[in-house]
């Protein structure tokens, strides 16, 4: 249990973690750290749902592409490396891989091309899962036979619990605003209750994050979950969206790059919808090549907020966006990719 923060005086440098890739981007884009030098150390956590997708999962998607399926996904996933290739490389090799903005676009593609078997690769946290649930429901209602979903959804509370169980040392947490729009603040109350953490659900404008940092500073000794993003987040969240998730998905154990298998941290498609579950409908087993992990890669420590990208020996030297080594550089929302793009 991390209760040592109760003993710290407000004059020492506070360590606050934000766990949403979009928050990380705003912090760096507006160079907010420059306001807090010496007072607050802002670190990023494991909040990029794409960076945490394991190589084995990318290998599975590539295998589907090689088998002739049309793979449709969000742009975020295209450059993530598997053990030997990536979707971008397979696209160049002529595989049918498409980028969409919305899962409904993937369904429309299936409708417009009845001779293609479309697999939509669903990534994202609780913000995106309800949209995919509704898309699956629509596919069933309209009797679309050539559409299925590979769910790689991850959920936030369990990764945060794992983080604190490994003894990470933080004074406060900035929680993902749009995930909480869906879930509400309730699922995160364990952070204050079990770990004595002061956490704030923050909006995405720079002033939102700055206000959230002040709320943490003022309430260090009153651990609780505070909502700064009042215009979009409530305690109970969006019940309609939560119902949609519950209807189509169930919690499952999931693999997180750099963290390993975490219990109940993913979303699997329920039996009743297995016709639209690519894993059930099209079971294949790709060959995974053994990946030699670069021992100098600091992604695990970076995602736990122990190190910043600047402290990794590979950062900017061998590890760059065009030649990423670890997960934090592979996605444009990873901490290292953000530091590389904005300087810190």
């Amino acid at each position: 249990m991390g209760t040592n923060q109760v003993l710290r005086s407000v004059n020492t440098e506070l360590k606050i973690m934000e766990v949403c890739g979009t928050h990380s981007e705003v912090v760096s884009k507006y160079a907010l750290r420059q306001f807090y030098t010496g007072r607050v150390k802002l670190v990023s956590g494991p909040g990029c749902p794409v960076c945490v997708i394991a190589s084995e999962d990318i290998d599975l998607i590539i295998e589907y592409a090689r088998c002739g399926f049309t793979i449709v996904t969000f742009g975020d996933l295209i450059r993530i490396p598997g053990t030997v290739s990536s979707l971008a490389v397979e696209l160049a090799r002529g595989k049918s891989i498409k980028v969409v903005y919305s899962p409904l676009d993937a369904l429309a593609m299936a409708k417009d091309n009845p001779s293609n078997q479309v697999i939509f690769v669903a990534v994202g946290f609780e913000t995106t899962a309800p949209l995919v649930a509704l898309t699956i429901m629509k596919a069933k209602k309209e009797g679309i036979k050539n559409f299925s979903v590979l769910s790689l959804h991850r959920t936030m509370p369990q990764i945060l619990r794992t983080l604190f169980q490994t003894g990470v040392n933080l004074d406060g947490l900035i929680l993902p605003g749009h995930v909480c729009t869906i879930t509400g603040s309730k699922p995160f109350e364990f952070l204050a209750r079990d770990f004595g953490i002061t956490a704030v659900i923050s909006g995405f404008a720079p002033e939102d994050i700055m206000e959230s940092i002040e709320i943490i500073r003022e309430n260090l000794h009153r651990p609780s979950i505070y909502i700064q993003y009042k215009r979009a987040v409530s305690t109970s969240g969006n019940m309609v969206a939560q119902e949609a998730i519950k209807k189509v998905f169930k919690p499952c154990d999931a693999l997180w790059r750099a963290f390993g298998l975490i219990k109940d941290s993913g979303l699997a498609i329920k039996e009743a919808w297995s016709f639209f579950d690519a894993r059930k409908r099209w079971p294949i087993k790709p060959i995974h090549h053994k990946q030699a992990l670069n021992k100098k890669c600091s992604c695990e420590d970076i995602m736990k907020g122990i190190l910043t990208p600047l402290e990794c020996p590979l950062f900017r030297t061998f590890c760059r966006p065009e030649s990423p080594i670890g997960p934090c550089m592979v996605s444009s929302e990873g901490s290292c990719a953000i530091y590389y793009k904005y300087g810190g």
Partner: protein, 332 residues
């Protein structure tokens, strides 16, 4: 016959008919009409500026332009950024069998109109026809030649610390216009590509002599790439002011929605000018009087840091890094 056939690429009678009906008819160029193997051009020059570019844009027709207009503007603007007076273009077409003649004429007509607007002539050309599926409709290559007036020495290597950076108008219009015609959203009022020849602006700039150090047109990879090119070639750093960047609200809004950076979006009718600091205000006023320069702004200052940085609305400073690869819409 309403479509292009592979026989039209055979080099014989049908080829001549196609060239006559579409290209000679539209381009109305006396030199081209001679149908010689080469154009012999009688011009007086000190230095010749010469450039080439190929155009593969999709879709072929987009709000505010088409591949033809793009093919003329892109090459003319590349000549203009060296301070040259553009004179002549060549135009080569690689056309897919089955391409509609109606569309081909539209493209040729658009090229002719743009040439008249810019005061240039198409003097050489070529046409090839390939199998269906081999050319994404049509590919166009244009090469351009112009003369550099005596005393004009505009180069990407000329930027010096203290110089000011000016952009001639709103950023990212072309990239977003093309993207929106591919994706499922619309703009109200409609967003058009900024595709335009920048002859007026460069004519104005030449009168400022050596105060104009660098000119670049930010096409693919956007303003961010141009700043990087200038920084590297001149061995300087550049600081831009985010609040001063002219951008249409629709473009900014769409970028927010799709997770894109407008500094990395394509432009086809804009200039980035690096100018001597003491002349910057006068140069800006002069550009603003030009038809395509009304929204020009001073957006930054050159320094000796060797880095490209941006001063945010909050007064903090961050790095502006070089674009890598293609922009794709994101959800994260």
């Amino acid at each position: 016959m309403d479509i292009v056939l592979s026989a039209h690429g055979g080099g014989g009678k049908l080829t001549e008919e196609l060239i006559q009906e579409v290209f000679l008819n539209e381009f109305d160029s006396d030199i081209l009409n001679e149908m010689e193997d080469s154009a012999v051009l009688d011009i007086d020059f000190n230095k010749l500026a010469f450039t080439t570019d190929s155009y593969t844009v999709k879709p072929l027709f987009f709000p505010g332009g088409d591949i033809g207009r793009l093919a003329v503007c892109g090459t003319i603007n590349d000549l203009l950024t060296r301070g040259a007076v553009p004179l002549f273009l060549s135009a080569s077409f690689i056309i897919e069998e089955g391409f509609r003649l109606y569309d081909l004429k539209r493209i040729a007509s658009s090229m002719a109109r743009t040439c008249r607007e810019a005061g240039v002539k198409i003097v050489a050309g070529d046409t090839k026809v390939v199998a269906r599926g081999d050319a994404d409709g049509i590919f166009i290559n244009t090469s351009g030649a112009g003369y550099v007036p005596f005393g004009v020495n505009i180069s990407v290597k000329n930027a010096k610390p203290g110089d000011k950076v000016i952009i001639s108008g709103t950023i990212g219009d072309h990239g977003m216009a093309v993207l929106s015609s591919r994706e499922d959203f619309t703009f109200d009022p409609p967003l058009e590509s900024d595709c335009a020849p920048l002859v007026d602006i460069v004519n104005t700039l030449r009168s400022f002599g050596e105060s104009v150090r660098v000119l670049r047109d930010p096409t693919r990879a956007g303003v961010a790439e141009v700043l990087y090119n200038i920084s590297r070639a001149s061995g300087v750093g550049i600081e831009i002011y985010e609040e001063k960047l002219p951008v249409k609200p629709q473009v900014a809004s769409a970028c927010n929605m799709l997770g894109l950076d407008f500094l990395q979006l394509a432009n086809e009718g804009k200039l980035v000018a690096v100018v001597e600091s003491s002349a910057a205000a006068k140069i800006l006023e002069a550009i603003k009087k030009c038809k395509n320069g009304r929204e020009a702004a001073i957006i930054g200052t050159v320094n000796d840091s060797g880095q490209i940085t941006a001063r945010t609305a909050l007064g903090t400073s961050r790095i502006l890094s070089r674009p890598v690869g293609e922009l794709v819409p994101r959800i994260c």
